[in-house]
Each structure stands twice: as structure tokens, then as C-alpha cells.
């Protein structure tokens, strides 16, 4: 039997769709475990990235973070926190937030830093204050890249939340690790398929969101990403 037949057999069993720990519950839980760290990371990463891009201060550090954050092994970070703090809210939330910040921050920084100097001068020439220049000119122009950063972080968070099931978090990863522990490939394959489907949903969601928030004049630029 192939992966898909195992996964399909398990996903289509009606018993898996009802009661506590069922597919709909864990699907929603997984979204919840992903949205919260993403929002916190966006609240930190976007202002910080915009500030660095606008002032140019700390840009070397930002670029270095961009190059090195993928080296951090998420499984190591999760297990280390659990060993010290036990499984808790902090244990899973903190690593997800910390790992989601770099792509958001760096893309916001690159978006703002990449704004054409002539456009900045035009904004100043039109009498805009620094704050107006940032909020009305630089951030809108940087939006396509800011959305790319959010999408990258969202995909990363969904994947890491799956692995966090290993240390005890709920969500779709539960099916995978409970199945592995009991040597049943059905739920493992089904959980993996559902996580992949969720990841594709995330891509689609950001495609729609980007379309909605990016100013019409910049859409062509966003498409190249």
C-alpha cells in the first residue's frame, strides 16, 4: 500500500471525526497553536524590521540573522526548554515566536531598505514627516516583501508546531507521534497528509491576503517573489 492509501483509509474513518482529539479538533488546535506565535512574532518583527530598514541602524545584524536562523535546530530548542521547564505554555510558545521573528524581521527590513531613494526624497519634498514617510510610503511599498516574510514564518510555524507534538503539544502532530509510538502507520500517514494540506491552505491564504492588502500599483512587483 502507498502513503496515500494508508492516509486516505485513516482520514476517511468516521470514528476519527468525532469526540475529543478528533481530526476537526486537532486541525483547529493546530491553527490556534500557529496563529498565536505568528501574531506575536509579527508584532515584534515588523516594527523592528521597518525601524532597521528606515534608519539603516543594525542592518548588518539583520542580514546575519537572516543567514543563520535556519541553522538553529528546532527540535533541540524544544527539548532543551522542556528539560528545564517541563511542558508548559512557555515551552512551546517561546521557541515558535523566536523562530518566526527572523524571516518576518528580515523581509520587512529588506522591503523598507529597498525603497527607491528618489521615492523617499519625493515623500520628504511633499512635506511628509518621518512618521508619515514610513507609514504612507515605505511600509506600503514594502508590503509584498512583508507578506513574503509572514508567509515564510507561517509555514515554518506550522511545521514546528507539528514537531512540538513530540514534546506534548496538541494539534495534528499528535496523530503522527501517537501513531509512531504505537507502531501504527495509518494515523502517522493521515496526520502527515493533514499537516501537508494545512500547509497548502496557508500558502493559499497568504496568496489571497497579499492580493487584498498590497496596493494595486505594486502587484506586479509582488508576483516576482
Amino acid at each position: 500500500m502507498s502513503f496515500f492509501s494508508y492516509a486516505w483509509d485513516w482520514v476517511t474513518q468516521s470514528a476519527n471525526w468525532h469526540g475529543p482529539g478528533s481530526i476537526p479538533q486537532q486541525f483547529l488546535a493546530h491553527i490556534g497553536y500557529s496563529v498565536l506565535p505568528l501574531l506575536i512574532a509579527a508584532l515584534i518583527g515588523i516594527p523592528a524590521g521597518v525601524a532597521i530598514g528606515h534608519t539603516g541602524r543594525g542592518s548588518v545584524a539583520a542580514v546575519n540573522v537572516a543567514n543563520s536562523w535556519r541553522a538553529i535546530p528546532t527540535l533541540g530548542l524544544l527539548t532543551l526548554l522542556v528539560v528545564y521547564l517541563g511542558f508548559s505554555f512557555v515551552t512551546w510558545l517561546l521557541p515558535l515566536v523566536v523562530l518566526a521573528i527572523p524571516p518576518i524581521l528580515v523581509n520587512a527590513y529588506e522591503g523598507v531598505a529597498g525603497v527607491d531613494p528618489e521615492v523617499r526624497d519625493a515623500a520628504k519634498g511633499a512635506g511628509m514627516t518621518s512618521w508619515q514617510e514610513v507609514t504612507r510610503v515605505e511600509v506600503p511599498i514594502a508590503l509584498p516583501l512583508i507578506m513574503v516574510g509572514l508567509r515564510t514564518a507561517a509555514i515554518f510555524v506550522v511545521a514546528t508546531a507539528t514537531i512540538a507534538a513530540y514534546i506534548g503539544l496538541g494539534g495534528l502532530g499528535r496523530f503522527i507521534f501517537d501513531g509512531l509510538a504505537s507502531y501504527q502507520y495509518g494515523p502517522v500517514a493521515g496526520g502527515a497528509l493533514l499537516v501537508a494540506i494545512l500547509a497548502v491552505f496557508v500558502l493559499g491564504f497568504f496568496a489571497v491576503l497579499t492580493r487584498l492588502v498590497v496596493p494595486a500599483g505594486l502587484r506586479k512587483q509582488g508576483k516576482t517573489e
Binding site: F3, R70, P73, G76, T79, V83, A189, L193, A196, V200
Partner: protein, 210 residues
């Protein structure tokens, strides 16, 4: 942190380090080997580009653990499974850079090569690919660093990597192996990254050092 744990487990740490380097480096290089021909095709025939980039972003969105699980029926709980999964992810970050690098070669340069009597193949190998090296290397660096780090996820399906130290530390509530594993992963990633930077400098001696 119990420092004496390190020398008394030196053989294990060394073996896991080798396995982790092997899986990370080989999968990134396979990703590069597949990306080059695909990227050349995508850079030349534009219709190939949108479906290729869509496929790449879809595959890249799939969590590593899910992809490895999907490969179990075909490849089992083996090194090959993890290498294939990580090679696919590497492909996803390298391929767009191959296309961008080749597209970024100025038309005037291509025309000059043609005027000097270069045929399409010779022009590609002698002029376009060398000029695309910095951009391709950028993709390979991301692919290799990610592969080295993501290889530890393979431990969750039983494939031996430095991820063993994380799980060992978790099960015994003993942080020392986890620290050792994290430091080694980051050290390997940084080391391989420096090697790639050196290779890029050798391949592109005309690029100013920054």
C-alpha cells in the same frame, strides 16, 4: 551542563556528527545537481517557469516530518528517506536561484559571447553559468544550512543524526547532550557555509570581496 559527559561519549558524538554531516551535505548537493538542469530549462523556456515555481513553493511548504513519513512506504526508515526529503527541500531553495542567476546575465554579455563565436552550449557553460554562480551559491548555502539542521528531524523516524542527542537528553531530563547537539549543528552549519563561501570566491575571482 556536565562537561565530563562529552569525553566519555566521544565516540558516539563523533559518529552522530559524521552521520549528520553526511546526510546534510549529500542532500544539498543532490538538490543542486537536480536544480541545475531544471533551472537551465526554466531559464530558457519561459512556460516551464510558473509550474516549476508553483511546485517548488508547494513542496517547500510541506513540513519535513510529513514528507519523511510520506516516503516511508517507498524508502523505509532509512538514511535514503531523509536524504531524499532534504534534497527536495534543497531543490526548492536552489532552483529559483538558478533561474534568477541565469536570467540575471545581461543580454549584452550573451550577445558578446555569441559574437565571439560561442554556440549555445559553450556560452552556457563558459559564460552564463559562471556569472550565475554567486546567486546559485546563495541558494545552495540556504539549502545546505537548512539540510544540516533539518536532518535532526530524521531522528523522529529513527534515522541516526545529532537529533539523537536531543531525544536522549529529553528522555533522561539531562540537558548536556542537547547543548552538545545544538552547538555541533550550528558549528557544522557555519563550517559548511564558510566552505561554500570559499568555493564561491574560487569560482568567481572577479567578484569584489565585501
Amino acid at each position: 551542563m556536565i562537561w565530563s559527559w562529552i569525553p566519555s561519549n566521544g565516540a558516539l558524538i563523533w559518529q552522530l556528527t559524521r552521520e549528520n554531516i553526511y546526510i546534510g551535505v549529500v542532500s544539498a548537493l543532490i538538490g543542486l545537481a537536480i536544480s541545475l538542469p531544471l533551472g537551465i530549462v526554466a531559464a530558457r523556456w519561459r512556460w516551464f517557469n510558473p509550474p516549476a515555481l508553483t511546485a517548488v513553493s508547494l513542496i517547500y511548504a510541506i513540513p519535513a516530518i510529513a514528507l519523511m513519513i510520506a516516503l516511508i512506504p517507498a524508502l523505509g526508515l532509512t538514511d535514503t528517506n531523509v536524504i531524499v526529503a532534504l534534497a527536495l527541500f534543497s531543490l526548492c531553495v536552489i532552483l529559483p536561484n538558478v533561474v534568477a542567476g541565469l536570467r540575471g546575465v545581461p543580454a549584452s554579455v550573451r550577445q558578446a559571447a555569441t559574437a565571439m563565436g560561442y554556440g549555445p552550449l559553450r556560452r552556457l557553460v563558459m559564460v552564463e553559468l559562471p556569472l550565475a554562480v554567486p546567486v546559485i551559491m546563495g541558494g545552495l548555502r540556504v539549502g545546505m544550512v537548512s539540510s544540516i539542521s533539518l536532518a535532526t528531524v530524521g531522528q523522529l523516524i529513527g534515522v541516526s543524526t545529532l537529533g539523537y542527542l536531543f531525544i536522549d537528553g529529553l528522555q533522561r531530563s539531562f540537558p548536556t547532550p542537547i547543548y552538545v547537539g545544538m552547538v555541533l549543528i550550528i558549528a557544522i552549519a557555519v563550517g559548511c557555509d564558510l566552505v561554500l563561501v570559499g568555493v564561491r570566491r574560487l569560482l568567481t575571482p572577479w567578484v569584489a570581496r565585501s
